[in-house]
Amino acid sequence: MAERAPAPDWRQLAAQRLGRLKLAPEERREVIAELAAHLDDRYRALCAAGSPDPEGYTLALVADWNALGRKIQKSKEDPMNFPRRVFVPGLMALVLAQALMSTSHHLLVPLFGVPTAWQFKWSVPAYYVPWLLALPLAGALGAWLSRRAEGRPGQRFTAALFPAFFAPVAMVALVIRVTFFVPQDALETFNFFEWLLAWVLLPALACSIGALPLLSGAAREAEQTPPSQTASA
């Protein structure tokens, strides 16, 4: 009688096929162990029934591991995760960025004067450069708060960028103002690309620099945690 091949390491297989399941480390381990246990039970049942290909039939239980991973993640995820991991930290970063701007404005405008309020040109306001230099702090705060709330690297980065999202929102208000309330000749002094660079792209870069050291850490380690021993022992 031919000897049957040893049972596959179902835990390792599930861990590999599920890939980067974005869950807390302990939760991820549990899910993998549970799926491995299910596969193991199925395999043993097929072996006991004399199946010619128990491994193949067991593997056929899951047609699409990526879809399974997504479904599991969705079913496990707390709906409050987004506000806790992105929105609130991002809002805090934005508040800090605005506070830095106010401080910079308060300290420097008396010295260098006030530029026209809505003309975001290269002749940027006096408080712009110090604000930009301080902006990594706001980015770091957003990323740090998100990491504390177990945010993933992408979520931390998004939270850090909130101060840069403010300008496009303000732009909508600006467009309304320019369209309806500002004399048309004033439009000639406005340069969209300069505005984009000065108030969106450079702030985004500054926030990213602040967030950079905080993008690695707990969540990434969790994703790379190797599964422990096989469940099918």
Partner: protein, 110 residues
């Protein structure tokens, strides 16, 4: 052939009804459902666990790891008090549903 939507709607009741009898682990839940419904209701691994995790998040079931006599570890699910409260209203709802279908289209529960 029962459509996927109806199956999906009945899946929670099937699990709750099974767990109301005794606590079971995932594989056993799938096996019992298939066996007791003559294969009409069948859970794949991909449909069972996301559903169990959702039910656990709602507080209807609770999973706990247990070591079997064979030494293998399995996560066993049991109904919580909240889950137990769901069973009767869901049964009633499905009875109403099939009763309505029976009146309308002669669908029999037998």
């Amino acid at each position: 052939m029962i459509t996927t939507r109806i199956k999906k709607g009945s899946a929670e009741l099937a699990i709750l009804a099974l767990l109301a009898e005794e606590s079971l682990h995932g594989y056993e839940i799938a096996r019992r459902i298939e066996e007791q419904t003559g294969g009409v209701l069948r859970f794949t691994l991909a449909s069972l666990y996301p559903l169990l995790y959702r039910m656990e998040k709602r507080g209807w079931v609770r999973g706990a790891w247990q070591t079997l006599p064979s030494g293998r570890e399995r996560r066993r699910y049991e109904l919580t008090a909240r889950g137990r409260k769901q069973v009767a209203p869901m049964r009633k709802e499905w009875n109403l549903f099939f009763g309505a279908l029976h009146k309308l289209a002669g669908v029999s529960r037998g």
